[in-house]
Amino acid sequence: MSTTEIRFSGFGGQGIIRCALITGEALALHDDKFATMTQSFGPEARGSACAAQLVVSDDRVLYPYITSPSVLMALSQEAYEKYYVELCDKGILIVDEDLVKLRGEHPNLVVWRVPATRFAEGLGNRLFTNLVALGFFTAVTGVVTADAMKKAIPGWVPSRFLKINIKAFEKGYDHGVQCMSGKSAS
Amino acid sequence: MNQKAEVEIKAPLAGVLRSERMPHIWCPGCGIGSVVTCFAEATKRSKLDHDKLAVVSGIGCSGRVAGYVNFDSLHTTHGRAIPVATGLKLANPDLKVVVISGDGDLTGIGGNHFIHAARRNMDIVVICINNFTYGMTGGQVTPTTPTSANASTTPYGNYEYPFSLPFLADAAGATYVARWTSLHSRNITQSIEEAFQKRGFSFIEVITPCTTLYLRRNRLGDGVDTLQYYQNNAVLKHGADTRETAIDFQGKIIIGKFVDREKPTYLDSANRCNTKFIGDDYQLYGKTPPEKEAEEAAKAAAAAGAPPA
C-alpha cells in the first residue's frame, strides 16, 4: 500500500482549499485512487492562515489526517514556516518564490520555487495563482495526472473563468515540466 | 351543565366540533369556549373546504382547543404551535392553517416564533386567547399581565411592563391585526372570517376572563362582572395606531381592526424567487398531492373504462 500525504497551505482567499478539492477529485474520480481531503475550519479558516490536507492511497484511506506529509505547497511565508518542519525526509516543498523567503537550504527536502503569483498576474489576475501552483505541483510531484486534473477543474471554478483557469494550470504545469527536465530544483 | 343546554350547543356546531369529546375541560365563565364558538361559527359560515382546514395549538388551557375542533388538529408543545403550523402550511400550501393558543404560550415561551412568523408573513391565522395568565399551571404572570395585577408569581402585584400584542404583531409585520374581547362574539366571528380570506400573517387577539384564577386573585368578581367591564371599557377604534393599544389594569381596552394590508406571503416570495431562478417550469413539490391523485384517478378510470386489448 502506498500512501502519500499532501498539505496545501497559504492565506485565506488564495484558493488553497480549492487546490485540495481539485486534486482530491482528480485522484478519486479520474485517477482511480483513494483520496481523503480535510481542511481547517472555524476562525482560523477565516483569518490569514489556511490549510487543506489530502491523503492519497491505492487502498481505502483509514486515518483521514496527515501525520508525515511528503508534499507541502506553501503560498505564504506564514504557511511555509508553520508547516515545512513536518515534511518527511526527501519531502517535496513547493513555494511561491515571490511570497516565500526560504529560511535556509533544506538539504533534506526537494525544494521547488515557482513564480506562481507573477505568472498569474501575467494572465491578468493574481486570483489564478492557485491554479498556476497546482499545475506546477502536478508536474513536479507526479502524484496526480494532468488529464485527471483538467477533468476535475470545471467542477470547482466558475464556468465563466474556466478557460483562464485551465490556461493558468497549463502555464504552471509547463513550467514544472521544464524545471523537471532542467533539474532546476534549487 | 344540564342536558338540554348541551343538546342546544351541539346541534348548531355539530360537524365542526368533536361532540364526542364534550364536555370540555374549561371552567364555568372562562372565555375560551366563547372564542371556540366564534371560531366554529366562522368555519361554518366561510366557504372554506373543512377538509383543508387545520388547527394547531400549544400548551395550556387554550392549547386544548385543538382537541375539540373537528378538523385536522395538532396539540403540540408549549410555545411551538406557530412553527408546527409553519411546517404544516409549507408542506401543503393548500391548507388553511389556524393557530389557537394562549398569551403565555404564544408570546411568552413562543414569543420568538410569533415575531418571526409575522416577519416572514407566513400565511397562517393566529388567534390569541389573552386572559392575562397561565391558567393550567395555576395563575402565574404572563407577558401580557397588566402592571400591578396580582398573579401567583407576582403575589404583591406585577411590576413588569406587559406586551401590547397588536403593537407587537404590527411591528413584526403582520398583515391583519384585530383585537376584541370575548363579549364581542359577532366581531370575533367576522374577524376570523376576514382572516380566513386574508393571505398572510393574520393576528386576532381576544381578551378573555380567567374566572378561576385571574379574576379571583384580583377580586374582580365573576365572568358576568368581567363582561360588564368589557362593556364599559372597550373602545371601538378601527385603524387605531397600535402604539396606543396598551392595556392598563382594569383600564380601557382599545378594540377593532387595526391593520389590514397586503404584501406577498413567505411562499409567494419563495415561489417568485425560485421561478426567477429556475424558470417557469419551477413547481414546488412537483405536482401537488391532490393533482397527483386526480391524475391517478383519471388514469385508473380510463383503464377501467377502456375496452380490453
Partner: protein, 388 residues
C-alpha cells in the same frame, strides 16, 4: 410496506468528490425528502446549505427557522402535512431540539435528524470532532422512549445511511438519527450516487379506508401503522399527551403503559431487522475492537497493526448504534477475552457493552475527549494489554 425507486428529480447520479455534510443532503433528496427546516450550526451547516441550493431544482423547500426548536417543530408540521422531512444540527442545537424529539416520538412522526457531533459540553469545540452525544440521542428527551440511530464512517455512508434513515423512519414511524461527527461531516471523499432506479425508497403508508375507520395510531408494538396527512379529510388529532388510538388524550397509568410499551417495543421487537453491524474476523478472535463512526476507521489501523504482531483480533463496527446490538455482545462476550472500545467521548456506548457483557469478558474503554480522533497506537496498546 411500499418500496419504490427514487424520484429521479432528487438524484444527482454519478461519482462526486463530496464531504459528509453534503452527502447527507444528497441522501435526503434521493430518499424523497422535500422539506428541510434548519438553523445554522457548525459543523453541520453545509448540509443545510446544500439542501437550500438544490431545493428549487428538485421542487423541494428549505426554510431557515429562527432556532432549532422551531426547526424540529416545523418538521412535525411538515411530516403531518405530507412531506418527508429532515433537519441537521450539532450539540447545542440538538439540545434545543430534545423536547420536540419527544413530541415526534409520542406522535409517531417520521423524520430524520442528523447530528454532526462536535466537542462539548456547551459551546465546547465548535469546529472539532467528537462522539459525545451518543447517549443524549437515546435518552435526552424526557420520559421513556426508543429511537433509531445510525453512525456513518464516510461521506459515502452519509449518503447511503441517510436514505436508510428515511426508510426506517417511514417503516417504524419514529425519528431516525444520523449520528455523524465533524471529521466525517467535513471530510471529502468519493461519493457514488447510484441512478434513481437503483435507490430503494419506502413510501409513506397513508391510510386509504373509510373515514370512520381511521385511527392515527395502532398500539401493536409493531411499526407500520398507516398515518395520514392534513388535507386528506380524515380530521386527525395528535397530541403529546398520553392518548388513545384516535389520538385523544387519555391520561391514565393504564393508557401510559399501552402507549409506552408500543413506542419501545416497536423498536426493540424489531431490533434484529433494524440492526446492522460490520464484522471482521470475529471467529476465533481473542480480542474484539468495537467502534462506530470515524473511530472505526482509526480502529482498523490499530487492528491491522495488532494482527501483524500475531494477535487474534476481530473488529465489530456498529452501523446501527441504537437499538444496541445486545444479543451480539452477549454471545461475543462468552467467546472472547476482551472487548476494546474506542470512542471520542469519556466512555458512553461502552456502558452498554459492559451491561451486555455482564462480566463474561473484559471490557476496555479507550476513551478520548473531544477535538481529535484517536492515535491508532493508543488503541493498539489497549489491544495488547487486553489480551494479556
Amino acid at each position: 410496506m411500499n418500496i419504490v425507486a427514487a424520484d429521479p428529480k432528487g438524484v444527482d447520479a454519478g461519482p462526486h468528490f463530496m464531504d459528509g455534510d453534503h452527502a447527507i443532503a444528497e441522501g435526503a433528496l434521493a430518499a424523497g425528502c422535500r422539506f428541510f427546516a434548519g438553523y445554522p450550526i457548525t459543523p453541520s451547516t453545509e448540509t443545510a446549505e446544500r439542501f437550500a441550493e438544490r431545493a428549487p431544482e428538485v421542487g423541494a423547500l428549505f426554510i431557515q427557522m429562527e432556532d432549532e426548536i422551531a426547526s424540529i417543530a416545523a418538521l412535525i408540521g411538515g411530516a403531518w402535512g405530507g412531506q418527508k422531512v429532515m433537519t441537521v444540527t450539532s450539540g447545542p442545537g440538538f439540545s434545543l431540539m430534545l423536547e420536540n424529539i419527544g413530541l415526534a416520538v409520542m406522535t409517531e412522526t417520521p423524520m430524520v435528524i442528523a447530528n454532526v457531533q462536535r466537542g462539548g459540553p456547551s459551546t465546547g469545540l465548535p469546529t472539532l470532532t467528537a462522539q459525545q452525544d451518543m447517549m443524549q440521542v437515546r435518552f435526552g428527551s424526557h420520559g421513556d422512549y426508543n429511537i433509531i440511530a445510525l453512525s456513518p464512517d464516510s461521506p459515502q455512508e452519509c449518503f447511503d445511511l441517510t436514505i436508510e434513515a428515511f426508510n426506517l423512519s417511514e417503516i417504524y414511524r419514529v425519528p431516525v438519527f444520523i449520528m455523524t461527527d465533524e471529521t466525517v461531516g467535513h471530510m471529502h471523499e468519493k461519493v457514488v450516487v447510484p441512478p434513481a432506479s437503483e435507490i430503494k425508497v419506502v413510501e409513506r403508508n397513508l391510510f386509504k379506508g373509510p373515514k370512520e375507520d381511521f385511527r392515527p395510531y395502532g398500539f401493536d408494538s409493531q411499526g407500520g401503522h398507516p398515518m395520514t396527512r392534513a388535507g386528506d379529510g380524515y380530521r386527525f388529532h395528535i397530541t403529546g399527551l398520553t392518548h388513545n388510538e384516535r389520538g385523544y388524550p387519555v391520561m391514565t397509568p393504564e393508557q401510559n403503559k399501552i402507549v409506552l410499551t408500543h413506542l419501545i417495543e416497536k423498536i426493540n421487537g424489531n431490533a434484529d431487522k433494524i440492526i446492522r453491524v460490520e464484522e471482521d474476523e470475529l471467529e476465533g478472535a481473542e480480542v474484539v475492537v468495537m467502534s462506530y463512526g470515524i473511530t472505526s476507521r482509526i480502529a482498523v489501523r490499530a487492528v491491522q497493526e495488532a494482527r501483524k504482531k500475531g494477535i487474534k483480533v476481530g473488529s465489530l463496527r456498529l452501523i446501527t448504534v441504537w437499538p444496541f446490538c445486545e444479543q451480539k455482545i452477549r454471545d461475543l462476550s462468552s467467546k472472547v477475552k476482551a472487548i476494546v472500545m474506542p470512542e471520542i467521548n469519556y466512555g458512553q456506548i461502552v456502558r452498554e457493552v459492559e451491561r451486555c457483557a455482564a462480566g463474561r469478558c473484559k471490557v476496555v474503554s479507550v476513551n478520548h475527549c473531544g477535538g481529535a480522533v484517536h492515535d491508532p497506537m493508543v488503541i493498539l496498546k489497549a489491544i495488547e494489554e487486553a489480551c494479556q
